[in-house]
């Protein structure tokens, strides 16, 4: 009896996970919050920012300011590939960091937002 239940359980679990797909993709490097805490408005220079965070992914120049833009994308993708029907979901979130410098290359402002902790493996092909 126990063997029969075990076999049935094994077959059941195999059938359930059959066709399951879990995938993950990332773009860029995660923004290091320890490095970010070392940047001080009004005193830190461009050199320090580049040493701590590396070269920016994008640069904006205007209004007597230079802006360094760093970004990081994280995506998780669950899927179900069945014999007759396939469902796939891809959930992507972004982190963005902007460091504003004045003409002398001193940090004037830092804007940072982190959304990547929200990204999950929820399979939701329907709904809003």
């Amino acid at each position: 009896m126990l063997v029969r239940i075990s076999v049935l359980l094994l077959v059941g679990v195999s059938l359930l996970i059959n066709g399951c797909v879990l995938s993950r993709g990332r773009v860029g490097n995660p923004i290091q919050e320890e490095s970010l805490s070392q940047i001080e408005k009004g005193s830190s220079k461009k050199e320090l920012v580049v040493t701590l965070l590396g070269a920016p992914d994008r640069m904006v120049v205007g209004n007597d300011k230079d802006i360094f833009h760093y970004y990081y994308y994280d995506g998780k993708s669950p899927g179900l590939i069945l014999l007759v029907f396939n469902i796939l979901s891809v959930n992507v979130r972004s982190d963005n960091l902007y460091v504003f410098f004045d003409k002398q290359g001193i940090v004037q402002d830092v804007i940072y937002g982190k959304r990547t902790p929200e990204v999950d493996f929820t399979l939701r092909p329907w709904g809003k």
Partner: protein, 138 residues
């Protein structure tokens, strides 16, 4: 026809209907609604406060003596139906005859700030609305 056979036939027909069906969805960032922006007071609220509530914009650009912060989010829905799967009933080789459609609902919120990063105004971009399922490409 007795009941068990009718039930079997019904399940078989249902499987036929779903055969070769695929549904895909891509979500980029969390949608922002006009209600989410009710806390913004032009001339008072700072971009820092907006970022604390909504996350950071995808892009900041300099426009004359102001800064433009652009928030982006999207939902992409794609579905396909491979009619060639039906040939699997009668043939070991299934040809491919796929009807497929994709709809990308790209949405944007633009926030205009002065050089001290205080919000001056904001506006939503026009929304694209596509159907949940678009099998018919014509």
């Amino acid at each position: 026809m007795n009941a068990p056979y009718a039930r079997l036939l019904l399940i078989f027909m249902l499987c036929l209907g779903l055969w070769g069906c695929a549904v895909r969805r891509i979500d980029f960032n969390t949608p922002i609604t006009p209600e989410d922006l009710s806390f913004i007071t032009a001339g008072k609220t700072t971009l820092h406060y907006v970022v604390d509530r909504l996350g950071a914009p995808e892009e900041i650009t300099a426009v004359s003596d102001q800064f433009l912060a652009e928030f982006k989010w999207s939902t992409t829905r794609s579905s396909s139906l491979n009619l060639g799967y039906l040939f699997r009933i009668v043939s070991p080789v299934a040809p491919t005859m796929t009807l497929s459609g994709t709809g990308i609902n790209m949405q944007r919120l633009l926030i205009l700030c002065d050089d001290r990063l205080i919000v001056r105004s904001y506006a939503f971009g026009l929304t694209d609305e596509h159907a949940f399922f678009e099998f018919w490409p014509f």
